[in-house]
């Protein structure tokens, strides 16, 4: 399982695509899927936070996502689709709660809002990453072009 910094070292091209798509709007936005108690997927938007070394997410204490990740850390996260162009970026792996106040404070300092103290703070470790572009979009010859990274 890799940190964002380790993904950058292993595949700087993929990490660059990911960072660009995560930050394409004024506020970093993505969809995150988690596993419900019954094992079915749950899906909601979130505001991830990205540093040079880590990919993080704050989760309100009332969110079902918090219970999901506390019980089963597996997640999948997909960037929003760009308004122009057809490009996708997706990572999946495991989330780990971060309780270190210094790490949290550093993240809050760079985040677009100050999360309430009771919002849980998770680092998203990466097992696999996928960047997709499309050739001949919206034609019968549409073809995906994949760039992948997976933990060895």
């Amino acid at each position: 399982m890799a940190t964002w910094g380790e993904l950058k070292e292993a595949r700087p091209d993929l990490a660059e695509h990911g960072a660009r798509l995560l930050k394409q709007y004024a506020v970093a936005m993505a969809f995150i899927a988690t596993l419900r108690k019954d094992g079915a997927p749950r899906l909601h938007p979130c505001c991830p936070a990205l540093t040079e070394t880590g990919l993080y997410v704050f989760i309100p204490h009332t969110s079902p996502k918090l219970h999901d990740l506390s019980r089963d850390p597996r997640y999948a996260l997909h960037t929003f689709l760009p308004e122009e162009g057809d490009e996708e970026f997706y990572v999946a792996g495991k989330a780990a709660r971060v309780d270190d106040p210094d790490v949290r404070a550093a993240m809050v300092a760079t985040h677009h809002y100050a999360p309430p103290a009771d919002e849980a703070f998770f680092e998203l470790s990466i097992e696999r990453a996928l960047h997709t572009t499309w050739e001949n979009w919206a034609t019968p010859e549409t073809r995906p072009i994949y760039e992948k990274w997976q933990e060895a």
Binding site: F31, A33, L35, A40, P41, L43, D72, A76, F80, Y90
Partner: protein, 156 residues
Amino acid sequence: MVRWEQFEKEMPELAALAKRLLWHESQKNNFAFLATEGAGGRLRLHPICPTFSEGGLYHVAEGKTPKKRDLLNDGRYAMHALLNPGGEPGSQFYVYGRAVLANDPENRAKVESTYQGWKFSEDETVFELLLERVLHTDYVDGTGYIHTKWRAGGTS
């Protein structure tokens, strides 16, 4: 677990809003994100172009995509409309349920006809997305998030 038409019958205004949130006029298509679960709880998450045909909500899984394997193996899904596509700030539409194979030739032809210029290849497979629960969330200035929930068999 029910068809879209049952949800539409019980919650017509919410169903109409959901259709507006899914539709992207600029691309003449519906767009959403679909989460599925693969072997061993491996989560997958990708954009899709769902469609409506004769009271049903459908997804067409292309070729040999892992999503198709997930839906054939388990079928449970979660689908979320993209955010703010129709000028309704903060409005979010989310549904989860189970996908079932709906790939008979007659139904394939009906679903295919809802897409402009898309001719299904043999290995493209039609799934109907049955609904278990729906959640609509709206953000209202000064009030916060307003949630409207529906579940098959009883509105909450």
